[in-house]
């Protein structure tokens, strides 16, 4: 390999301008791919983080109630006129056991039983419909870090203390320390103190969610000792779907992952990734064509030298390798420069850009891009290399 390598390097050095131009071309392509990929990955992880910052990865609830039907006897036709059942607020059976079971699973990082139901919040004449959420604050804060989003007061739930959203506070003119009447219908109501006001940045949540103690919520919603939901977070958010499947089979309950609840978002992210991949693909294709054309020109320019080398005992294989090495070197050099430029672009974006979100650069992405560019170089060199190896030495030497 030594001589093939030496010839390849000398050829590249001799055609310095040509080599430099194509390496710059490759570098630009690789830089675009690295920057674009990092940008989109940063953007997506940012979106996902924001989305998951306000919701559990997996929610478990009691299975929907359905009408039970008598099985029809053999060879009869059953005509069914069915009125769907209303889904009343119900507790998960044996939720304590389910909770304890979930606590033991390694892929599950936090478990929080919740009771959630509708109510009205009233202050004086003002009325707002809210979602009552009864929580065990120690467990719940590991699911959604509300304590980090408190804008007034503190995150304290229990003993008639409630935490409400900023929007609701504005609507009802509430401040920390004020009293709030909660009316869950059918004459069940209670008064709580506003201990803290949070702002999650999601309008709907900030306008509707009222966090109170689990026990208080149970009595307001008339479900003593109940939990209607179990919120769960998992280690690997992209495995939430699989974990949810497993939990569904394990518990026999209704299990939904964030990927299901946010199908639209997932779809958008997938389309975004796809379009990025397409752009990268086309950039890579044009880089490959660039390498191939530069090497093809080089084969024509060096026809006579190739003929001489062949006459001196260079085998076809050796000639092939010489040009494949040139392609690989183009790819490698271009991707190194391009990778560094891509990182510089990312750095510039993080430092001088709009600073809406931070783009991390994955070292693996760089390695992958370099390996891919080198491989692309070898593949695109294949055609010119074959034509170089296929040159008839007699013809080639005669070539003026």
């Amino acid at each position: 390999m030594w001589i093939e390598w030496t010839i390849a390097v000398r050829f590249l050095r001799e055609g310095r301008t040509q080599s430099a131009l194509i390496v710059i071309g490759i570098a630009v392509g690789v830089a675009v791919i690295v920057f674009l990929t990092a940008l989109i990955m940063g953007l997506q992880s940012n979106i996902i983080q924001r989305t998951l910052g306000t919701q559990a990865h997996i929610k478990i609830s009691a299975p929907d109630e359905v009408n039970l039907r008598l099985p029809s006897p053999e060879e009869t036709v059953q005509l069914v006129l069915e009125t769907k059942r209303a889904q009343r607020l119900r507790s998960i059976n044996n939720w304590q056991q389910v909770r304890d079971l979930l606590d033991t699973l390694p892929e599950v990082t936090a478990v929080s039983p919740v009771i959630s139901g509708p109510a009205f919040a009233r202050r004086g004449e003002a009325l707002a419909s809210v979602a009552l959420i009864g929580i065990d604050s120690e467990r719940y804060r590991r699911i959604i870090p509300i304590q980090d989003n408190i804008v007034y007061g503190q995150f304290r739930v229990g003993a008639d203390d409630a935490v409400i959203g900023n929007r609701l506070a504005t609507d009802l003119g509430l401040r920390v320390g004020d009293k709030l009447r909660l009316d869950a219908g059918q004459g069940r109501d209670g008064v709580v103190n506003v201990a803290g006001i949070f702002e999650l940045g999601v309008r709907d949540l900030d306008a509707r969610q009222v966090y109170i103690d689990l026990k208080q919520a149970q009595s307001l919603l008339d479900l003593p000792g109940a939990a209607t939901l179990i919120d769960i977070t998992v280690g690997d958010i992209f495995r939430a779907e699989q974990v949810a499947d497993r939990l569904g089979r394990l518990t026999g309950l209704k299990v939904e992952s964030w990927m299901e609840t946010n199908a639209q978002l997932m779809n958008a992210l997938r389309s975004q990734s796809l379009s990025t991949q397409m752009i990268s693909g086309f950039v890579a294709l044009s880089v490959a064509l660039g390498i191939a054309s530069v090497l093809s020109v080089s084969v024509v320019q060096r026809t006579r030298e190739i003929g001489i080398l062949r006459a001196m005992g260079t085998s076809r294989r050796q000639m092939l390798i010489v040009f494949l090495i040139q392609g690989a070197l183009f790819g490698l050099a271009g991707s190194l420069i391009g990778g560094i430029s891509g990182c510089a672009l990312v750095w510039a974006f993080n430092t001088f850009g709009p600073r809406l979100f931070f783009i991390p650069v994955d070292l693996l992405l760089l390695l992958f891009a370099s390996a891919l560019a080198t491989l692309t170089g070898v593949i695109s060199a294949a055609i010119p290399a074959r034509s170089a190896a296929g040159l008839d030495p007699v013809e080639a030497i005669r070539h003026a």
């Binding site: 030594w2 006579r304 062949r310 001196m312 005992g313 260079t314």
Partner: protein, 241 residues
């Protein structure tokens, strides 16, 4: 260097034919059955007008092309049926080429060009090969120019580098195609003198294609080719250099 049998046969042609576009209406036979033999000590010129088949014959002898019929023995080995890889290897190890347009590789220095055939066959040159390359360049009078690139040398100097390169593998046969075609008379004399010396010192057969009668007169043997046939094969007392 190892003692070589002075009368050893280097090259033998038996009924060698070559046609182009075989099997087609445009088929044209260029060589019509040549028989010819060359020994170690031979210093022969191959002469003929252009179109006589000289270059075709040279390409066949140099294993750059295959005959349509007949057999070509190189060091008593039949070569026609050999696969391409064997032919390439045999070409590299037994034949030294010198072309009209010196044909050095621009990206390499004079010394590297000389070592190229060896490097192609064996890889990185060791101390012994570097020494051999240097001594060959010294023999052709270029010891000061070893690190120069071809475009920094004159035409005559480049041709002398090409001669040194042809000899690095200690070939049994040196094939020269109009080696002095584009050289002035002084350089021509120098290059020819080198061929002479290497023929004697290295025991390497020389076959020189030329249509310069002043050059062919100085050879021991003159083979004339006309319309694809050998019309005369004359052993002559070479004129004094």
């Amino acid at each position: 260097m190892p003692e070589r049998d002075a009368n050893q046969e280097v090259l033998r042609l038996e009924g060698l034919r070559k046609s182009y576009n075989a099997g087609q209406p445009t088929e044209a036979e260029v060589l019509h059955g040549l028989d010819f033999q060359l020994g170690r000590q031979d210093f022969a010129a191959l002469v003929g007008t252009s179109g006589s088949g000289k270059s075709t014959l040279l390409n066949l002898i140099g294993l750059l092309d295959r005959p349509s019929a007949g057999e070509l023995y190189l060091l008593s080995e039949p070569t026609t049926a050999m696969d391409e890889q064997r032919r390439t290897a045999l070409r590299g190890s037994t034949i030294g080429f010198v072309f009209q347009f010196h044909h050095l590789i621009q990206a390499f220095t004079a010394l590297e060009n000389v070592l190229m055939p060896w490097m192609l066959a064996h890889g990185k040159p060791g101390r012994a090969e570097l020494e051999l390359g240097r001594s060959l360049l010294a023999e052709v009078g270029l010891q000061q120019f070893m690190q120069r690139k071809p475009d920094e040398l004159s035409g005559g100097q480049q041709q002398r580098v090409a001669v040194a390169r042809a000899l690095i593998m200690r070939p049994a046969l040196l094939l020269a195609d109009e080696p002095t075609g584009n050289l002035d008379s002084k350089s021509t004399a120098e290059v020819f003198a080198l061929f002479r010396r290497f023929n004697v010192e290295f025991g390497c057969a020389v076959l020189l294609v030329t249509h310069d009668s002043r050059l062919s007169e100085k050879c021991d043997r003159v083979v004339s080719l006309e319309d694809g046939r050998i019309v005369s094969d004359v052993f002559q007392k070479a004129s004094i250099l």
